[in-house]
């Protein structure tokens, strides 16, 4: 049997059973073996318990989505199989807690022609290890043995992981791992083709999207963060809470999101790269102050990790439905910027762009990600960090000969005015959310008003021109185009490839800068496709509506998913096939 090196593992159980930990360890083990991966955990909405599952896709190249069905499902108990079994592929393998004497296939006819390995996880943990809580390590051991994970690497990993948790904890978990490993190794006859293989390299590091946003900000020179906890964005704050003080920066947990946003404006005004992170409800609350940032022209970055809305909605599930608000944010015509990260790596890299735009154009920048990105983990090359210093130069004072004639809001061709920051001598000025003249003094006359509105708006032209990046995949002369944004980018990339492989002339377009819209890059794509699908994770087709407002005559087919689950490459592929019919 030819080994299959790329496959998807699901690890499932009750949330108290250590599913997540087992998944994390396996992910890191893969990274150390130079195996690329993409992994995701769902967790229950209430604080206490409920079913939990980790999906781990393993590949020889970097991947952009979570794949489709499970090839291997590890079930910590029968209920977990009942819940996740339907997602097990036609040729999938089940590893389940249980007695080989009482095979599952007798109770579940759909298992009759599938490989099932029964591992008495619970019994081993209880009897052999003497600690029922180590069931997950038994499962981890068995999984490692069955699918080719390096025992050595895993043992080292476990040792590192548990070293701070005390002697007994460490011993029990290692014992459990080994017991599981040995059981599978000795008692189970492998009948499936799924097997990983270590590759050459110095290994990867693995980040979830939220961690990537946080480290991206850190390496983009962000030195001030203010935020308020909210699922699924809190990790960004938590990572920066640990890291910022190490580099002379500061993080403040604010009393609410309005305060966070106010603090970020203060930090930006003070000349320090500043950001906040939140999710839908927080973004709603920040709308007013985003407008102040636009009017007073203060650099700042807001990461919004979308979750199911509206209101409290589906706080632990994903959606792409904050786009309209992100673009509209604030009453009045308040120019600002909306970027959307498409992959985990992009979560890191887009922060550099966000801070650069914010600084250069003195404007608030919203970065959209979502729960599906924020909680998905992927491997990243270590060079990503090593090639950066992560320092941002403090803003230099504007080069002005006659300081008495310094105009903070000078009318310029690109709308960008000279800007000093507190501490720079002789360049003091007052910013205000009132309409103002070039000096910054409140002014309400119609002419000043018109000129200032136009000045601020002009910045968007430069931004669309200089930062208008779109990702394009697939056939250079497509019949069918798919447009999406944010976390849908990865699935689109893979689905377009699959469609092309199946003979459909398909292409994908995924803009990273959503507003101002880089129409000069989108238009050629639209014009080059016979039919276009816009697929997004919301009910009303927010980006499709936006694109229609930009391109008169543009009337794409819309595919909208709004059930709390991420858009998958299968969804995209189906949409392409549908249109291709």
């Amino acid at each position: 049997m030819e080994p299959v090196r790329e496959f998807v593992i699901g690890i499932s159980g009750e949330s108290g059973e250590g599913v997540v930990l087992a998944g994390e360890i396996l992910t890191i083990a893969a990274a150390r073996m130079n195996i690329h991966s993409s992994s995701f955990r769902t967790f229950p909405a209430e604080a206490r318990g409920g079913p939990s599952v980790v999906r781990l896709r393993l590949c020889r190249d970097h991947v952009y989505s979570l794949g489709d069905a499970y090839d291997v499902l590890i079930a910590f108990n029968e209920e977990a199989y009942q819940l996740h079994g339907p997602a097990l592929g036609r040729h999938g393998v089940l590893v389940v807690d249980g007695d080989p004497e009482k095979p599952m296939s007798t109770r579940y006819p759909e298992l009759a022609d599938r490989t099932v390995y029964h591992i008495p996880m619970d019994r081993i943990a209880r009897k052999d290890v003497g600690e029922p809580k180590t069931k997950n390590m038994v499962a981890l051991g068995a999984t490692s043995a069955l699918f080719g994970f390096s025992r050595e690497i895993l043992e080292r990993l476990l040792a590192e992981k548990f070293t701070k948790r005390g002697e007994k904890m460490m011993r029990d978990n290692l014992n459990a791992f080994m017991a599981g490993y040995d059981y599978a190794d000795s008692q189970i006859e492998k009948q499936d083709p799924f097997e990983v293989e270590a590759l050459e390299g110095d290994g990867f590091f693995v980040l979830a999207g939220n961690e990537a946003v946080a480290l991206g900000a850190l390496y983009a020179g962000c030195r001030f963060f203010a935020g308020y906890p909210i699922t699924p964005a809190s990790e960004i704050m938590e990572v920066l809470a640990a890291e910022l003080p190490k580099v002379g920066g500061a993080m403040v947990q604010a009393e609410d999101e309005i305060a966070s946003m106010g603090m970020v404006l203060g930090g930006g005004f003070a000349g320090v790269r500043s950001m906040t992170a939140t999710s839908g409800p927080g973004l709603s609350l920040m709308a007013e102050l985003i407008g102040l940032g636009s009017m007073a022209e203060i650099p700042c970055v807001i990461a919004n990790v979308q979750r199911g809305g509206p209101s409290t909605g589906l706080p632990t599930k994903t959606e792409q439905a904050d786009l309209t608000l992100a673009i509209a944010a604030s009453h009045g015509d308040a120019p600002h910027v909306v970027l959307a990260a498409t992959t985990i790596r992009d979560c890191f890299e887009i922060m550099e762009e966000a801070f650069e735009i914010a600084e250069r154009y003195q404007i608030p920048v919203i970065v959209l990600t979502d729960q599906a990105l924020g909680f998905r983990r992927a491997d990243l090359p270590k060079s990503l960090l090593r090639e950066r210093t992560g320092r941002a130069l403090p803003p230099a004072p504007p080069d002005i000969v006659d300081k008495a004639r310094y105009l903070r809001y000078q009318l310029t061709q690109d709308g960008v005015s000279p800007r000093s920051v507190p501490g720079q001598p002789g360049l003091a000025h007052v910013v205000t959310g009132l309409e103002h003249n070039e000096e910054g003094k409140p002014a309400y006359d119609p002419k000043t008003r018109r000129l200032m509105m136009e000045k601020r708006q002009r910045k968007l032209e430069g931004i669309a021109r200089d930062y208008g990046s779109v990702l394009r995949y697939g056939d250079p002369e497509p019949e069918i185009g798919v447009i999406g944004w944010g976390s849908t980018g990865g699935p689109i990339r893979e689905a377009v490839q699959m469609a092309c492989d199946s003979g459909i002339k398909a292409a994908g377009l995924v803009p990273r800068l959503l507003y101002p819209s880089p129409n000069h890059l989108i238009r050629p794509f639209i014009e080059s496709c016979k039919k276009i699908v816009v697929i997004e994770g919301n009910l009303t087709g927010q980006y499709a509506a936006f694109l229609r407002s930009q391109f008169p005559g543009f009337d794409p087919k819309q595919v909208n998913l709004y059930d709390g689950l991420p858009v998958q490459r299968g969804d995209v592929l189906r949409a392409i096939q549908e249109v291709a019919k």
Partner: protein
């Protein structure tokens, strides 16, 4: 606020007029805020604050227009959000001096939720609240400090709500410096602002500053009849004494009601209260280890 600039930068002598921006205040003739502005000028000069390192932050309201009249960096922001903006300025760059100014509506109504937190953090800021017991800029509606029975267009039958007691609130929040001044006693007020600026951590100065246009009953005569000096024997670290004095709505004691020493925000945040210079480099290898 515990000013950092004099220590680091020039200690040149300064005159109050050095802090005039040259913009003419837009206040009504006779508005109490003129007196407050003058006291602020004097206090800044007394402490020799470097105007280039000073940031004056406000919200929205008549009183909140003050930053425009002061020669310094200024941030005239959004209604009720002066505190968060000031916290951001100071937390991000602790080597700046940050003065907060604004009105009673801005501070206690829409912005009231920020006060307990800036106080308990002992943020290195000085907050001067000009209390005219009314919303001046929006042409006269009751504020949280309006007296019961105040008739405005929005309270045509007289307001029936009990006013808050600003000094009491700040004491309860754990503010480390709480004072009350009066715009028609500009010298006394200047000294209070000066002491507030020199105080380490958060200092709060409640200033009686009448609006003659939209709160005619609460004018200088009214305040004159209610103000009195702090009792001679009141000790500034006597919290309950201060609370008792703050609880009588008919006696508006002037002076520094409370002052204690507690580590300030930037002291706790940054060793020595200043951002390290040069900035420590990111430990990239440690980060890679953490995530692999």
């Amino acid at each position: 606020m515990n000013p950092t600039a004099p220590a680091q930068a020039s200690t040149a002598e300064r005159k109050p007029s050095d802090y005039r921006s040259g913009r003419k205040p837009v206040w009504c003739p006779g508005c109490g805020d003129y007196g407050v502005l003058n006291s602020v000028f004097s206090a800044l000069a007394e402490v020799r604050i470097d105007p280039d390192r000073l940031v004056v932050v406000s919200g929205i309201g008549c009183s909140s227009r003050m930053p425009g009249f002061i020669k310094a960096y200024g941030f005239h922001g959004a209604h009720g959000r002066a505190v968060p903006v000031a916290v951001g300025v100071k937390a991000a760059n602790p080597s700046l001096d940050v003065l907060l100014v604004g009105g009673d509506g801005d501070a206690f109504s829409i912005g009231g939720g920020h006060l307990p937190h800036v106080a308990r953090r002992n943020m290195d800021l000085t907050y001067v609240v000009m209390d005219n017991e009314i919303y001046g800029l929006t042409k006269g509606q009751t504020s949280p400090t309006s007296q019961p029975g105040t008739v405005t267009k929005a309270s045509p039958y007289g307001s029936s709500e009990q006013p808050i007691l600003p000094v009491m609130l700040l004491l309860a929040y754990g503010a480390t410096f709480v004072a009350r001044g009066y715009s028609s006693r500009p010298k006394e007020l200047a000294v209070m602002v000066e002491r507030g600026i020199r105080h380490k951590g958060f200092s709060f100065i409640h200033v009686l500053s009448p609006c003659l246009t939209f709160n005619k009953p609460v004018n200088f005569d009214y305040f004159d009849s209610k103000v009195l000096p702090l009792p001679e024997d009141h000790k500034p670290d006597d919290l309950f004494g201060a609370m008792k004095l703050a609880s009588d709505p008919d006696k508006l004691y002037l002076g520094v009601h409370y002052e204690v020493d507690r580590p300030s925000f930037t002291e706790r945040l940054y060793p020595g209260g200043v951002r390290p210079d040069p900035e420590p480099a990111i430990d990239t290898e440690a980060l890679i280890r953490r995530y692999s």
